[in-house]
Amino acid sequence: MKASKVLLLLLIGLTFLFIFDYSRGGIHKIGPQLSQIIILPAPADNIKALDDDWFGK
């Protein structure tokens, strides 16, 4: 099988995965996932503290 065909199938697969994930609201999880890496300190009562255990839930 040609490399271009394999790559095209992979891209189509990832696109379907994206559509499936998007339809289940996955796009809104990108923000919390990025903020899982960098946990900013939150001043008391001003900003809601970010969840420290996002992947576990």
């Binding site: 891209l11 990832l14 994206f18 999880k29 996932q33 946990i39 001043p43």
Partner: protein, 259 residues
């Protein structure tokens, strides 16, 4: 092999000299403009604006990743490069190293301006640790963006038609997949410790919000960060492999520019 690496790397640096000079001139012009405005504008604003050029770093890395490879195809030097006894990973590493050097030069010049304005605007000097950490983070982000754009361009080059469309598609879909699913590796990397960064620059925001007692340490989640880096490393390896084995090279007259 070592001398080939050296000669290709030297050629890349020579090619990037123009963009380095352009970048340096733009940052110096921006700093000069701010310096001339120091009396008419609020001095704290001038200090904050001296950080502004760092916003363009990821965009620069994005464009560089595409552009450096595109030039090889445009000048048809890729045919010559791939005929050399070097691996695909050597070629992609050289390009990344060049982008990293450009980024570091860019960051150093921006920070010289920042230190200069901090002396005018602030009562206390910026902690050295803050500049080091910020510089390292910025250069890492630039490299990650460059890896993704390099990979996207190389995937586009596997196809005879619609290469640009495929590249943009690959960039978006792969970027999304890494952010969304690299976290699946986190449970296997729980041994990686978390670490902290000095968030000195947050103190201004906290003061604005009326909470001067808030912590300034930024926590970095070790396992998630490593999972993120590993995903990019896999993309880098995959891109290098595609370059070595599957890209379509242009035919016709070859210009030997890298020698």
């Amino acid at each position: 092999m070592k001398s080939k690496f050296g000669s290709i790397f030297k050629g890349e640096l020579k090619n990037s000299l123009g963009s380095i000079i352009l970048l340096l001139s733009l940052v110096i012009l921006w700093d000069l403009y701010l310096y001339l405005r120091r009396d008419s504008w609020d001095i704290t604003l001038v200090f904050v604006l001296s950080f502004l050029p760092i916003i363009f770093l990821p965009f620069y890395a994005l464009v560089s990743g595409f552009y450096m490879l595109r030039e090889e195809w445009r000048k048809k030097t890729i045919t010559h490069l791939l005929s050399l006894p070097v691996k695909g990973i050597t070629l992609t590493s050289i390009k990344l190293l060049t982008i990293w050097i450009e980024t570091v030069i860019f960051i150093v010049v921006i920070f010289i301006g920042v230190i200069m304005f901090s002396k005018i605007a602030l009562l206390e000097p910026i902690p050295n640790q803050v500049l080091w950490q910020l510089g390292i983070i910025l250069s890492i982000i630039s490299i990650l963006v460059a890896i993704l754009s390099q990979f996207a361009y190389l995937v586009g080059r596997v196809f005879r038609y619609g290469g640009w469309l495929i590249s943009i598609w690959t960039f978006l879909v792969t970027g999304w997949a890494i952010i969304r699913y690299s976290g699946l590796l986190v449970p296997y990397l729980s041994f990686v410790p978390n670490f902290q960064l000095n968030g000195w620059y947050l103190s201004g925001i906290w003061q604005y919000l009326g909470d001067v007692s808030a912590l300034q340490a930024i926590k970095i989640h070790g396992p998630t960060t490593l999972a993120f880096f590993l995903s990019f490393f896999v993309i880098f390896l995959l891109g290098s492999w595609i370059l070595e084995k599957y890209v379509i090279v242009p035919t016709g007259e070859i210009k030997h520019e890298s020698e």
